[in-house]
């Protein structure tokens, strides 16, 4: 799985960080998403898919070949 985030779209809602804290964080100085792990291990996949599905700005993109 490959994860990308769109900082311009992100509204800093923090849903991704609440759901998958090992993969996403937010910058301290504006709350915008930081991608910690662009190719998360398989035990993270369910959480990352959930984060992408609920992100209110549709700012998380997944390209999964598995």
């Amino acid at each position: 799985m490959k994860v990308t985030v769109d900082e311009a779209k992100c509204c800093g809602a923090g849903q991704c960080v609440l759901i998958a804290p090992d993969v996403f964080d937010q910058r301290d100085d504006d709350g915008i998403v930081i991608l910690l792990d662009a190719e998360p291990a398989s035990d993270q996949h369910t959480a990352v898919r959930e984060a992408a599905a609920v992100c209110p700005s549709a700012a998380i993109r997944l390209d999964s070949d598995d």
């Binding site: 509204c11 800093g12 809602a13 923090g14 960080v17 609440l18 301290d28 504006d30 209110p56 700005s57």
Partner: protein
């Protein structure tokens, strides 16, 4: 059926507080772009499908109507608080780059991590409120005892305003969010008091270099062209105080009521506390009383579900109806406490999606966890059908949530 055949009078009628109005299903199915008449007599367009609402809210061209838009009015002439009338004295930038800049200035204080750090103190406050409620004896109103005070204490602490003034805040916020409950004279007068109160606070903080959220925003605004203007600072502080308590307070009450309305739900949580996070999301989705709905003013033509809505249209997004949309959620009319993913629209979507959602979620999770732990025998003290909705405000909620344990 053409969309103008029928003009629905809005808000819709509810038979009981926790059940959806019967029109929703038909609207989503047959008339997802419907014409409605607001309490003002003006007409607007009601959307009820998840996909349509999500698309429109994500469209950065549109925002809540401002006084300058000449949009459909929500409240009848002579009533309505500033949040309903879109009074231009609210100086927060409404869209585009200025809005994004404002969001980032404020949003950094509401990140998931910062909210997680507040958890221990929120838990302590919640425990104290529950103890006080228990001391007074059953039955008790959970909304008055826990739902209302917790978010007020939390936001007052963040903003650095005294929680002792909370009764005044509640009144001011009801006034701002009023559709038909108060006259315009009353809402104007109370807005004046609120402005004066908050301006005084800001002046004191400026003098003392306070380290709370307002103090930080002041500090960042000191350089030329940096941070917020004085007017922005004032409305931001007022807006956070109002946004930070009324919605969350009501949502806590509704969450507990829904979870107790069918005791099997409560039992399931007692048996598996790891469901708390998902149960909070499902409560946000399942709630049929999100309030008036989100408004958008179309400054350009927009396409929704293959239909062009002309510039000048005022659109009302029925989030609660969309949250029950079968095409977005399996068994949408069932409360499934383990539902995931749960892309409900309770906090809106797109660039205006609720700024305080990590805070609201944390508060709801803390209340639910603490109630399950301290009062496992909690139950509703009245039949669920007898719960009463609040009317006349932009936010939705129950008047009381009577419980015993």
């Amino acid at each position: 059926m053409s969309h103008n055949d029928q003009v629905l009078s809005y808000p819709l009628h509810y038979d009981t507080a926790l059940e959806p109005p019967k029109e929703w299903e038909q609207l989503r199915g047959q008339c997802p772009v419907a014409t409605i008449e607001l309490p003002s007599g003006d007409r607007a367009t009601l959307l009820t499908r998840h996909e349509h609402i999500k698309t429109l809210l994500a469209d950065a061209r549109f925002a809540r109507p401002t006084a300058a838009d000449n949009a459909a009015r929500v409240a009848p002439a002579g009533s309505g608080g500033v949040a309903a009338t879109g009074d231009s004295s609210l100086a927060i930038p409404d869209k585009g780059e200025p809005h994004q800049r404002w969001r980032r200035l404020v949003g950094k204080y509401f990140t998931a991590k910062r909210m997680a750090a507040l958890r221990p103190s929120m838990t302590a406050t919640t425990e104290r409120l529950i103890d006080e409620m228990v001391q007074q004896g059953a039955p008790a109103d959970l909304k008055a005892g826990v739902g209302f005070p917790l978010p007020v204490y939390v936001i007052c602490d963040m903003l650095g305003v005294p929680a002792d003034d909370r009764h005044r805040f509640s009144r001011w916020s009801d006034m701002m969010l009023s559709v038909t409950r108060y006259s315009q004279e009353e809402t104007h007068a109370s807005m004046g008091e609120f402005v004066q109160y908050m301006s005084g606070h800001i002046a004191t903080k400026r003098a003392n270099q306070a380290s709370d959220l307002i103090g930080m925003l002041i500090k960042e605004s000191e350089g030329e062209g940096e941070g917020m203007s004085d007017a922005e600072l004032l409305t931001t502080a007022m807006g956070l105080l109002v946004a930070g308590h009324e919605t969350t307070a009501n949502m806590i009450g509704k969450m507990v009521a829904m979870l107790l309305a069918d005791r099997a739900r409560w039992e399931r949580l007692l048996a598996d506390l790891s469901l708390v996070r998902a149960a909070v999301e499902e409560s946000l989705r399942f709630d049929v009383n999100h309030g008036f709905g989100l408004r958008r003013f179309l400054t350009e033509d927009a396409e929704v579900g293959g239909q062009v809505l002309p510039a000048g249209t005022t659109v009302l997004c029925g989030m609660s109806a969309a949250n029950r949309d079968e095409s977005a959620f399996d068994q949408a009319d069932q409360m499934d406490l383990g539902r995931a993913p749960n892309a409900h629209l309770a906090f809106g979507a797109g660039p205006h999606s609720c700024l305080g959602q990590a805070l609201a979620r944390t508060e709801m999770q803390v209340v639910l966890e603490t109630l399950l732990r301290k009062l496992p025998t909690l139950e509703l003290a009245v039949p669920a059908e007898d719960l009463q909705r609040m009317e006349g405000l932009l936010v939705g909620g129950l008047r009381e949530v009577p419980v015993r344990w």
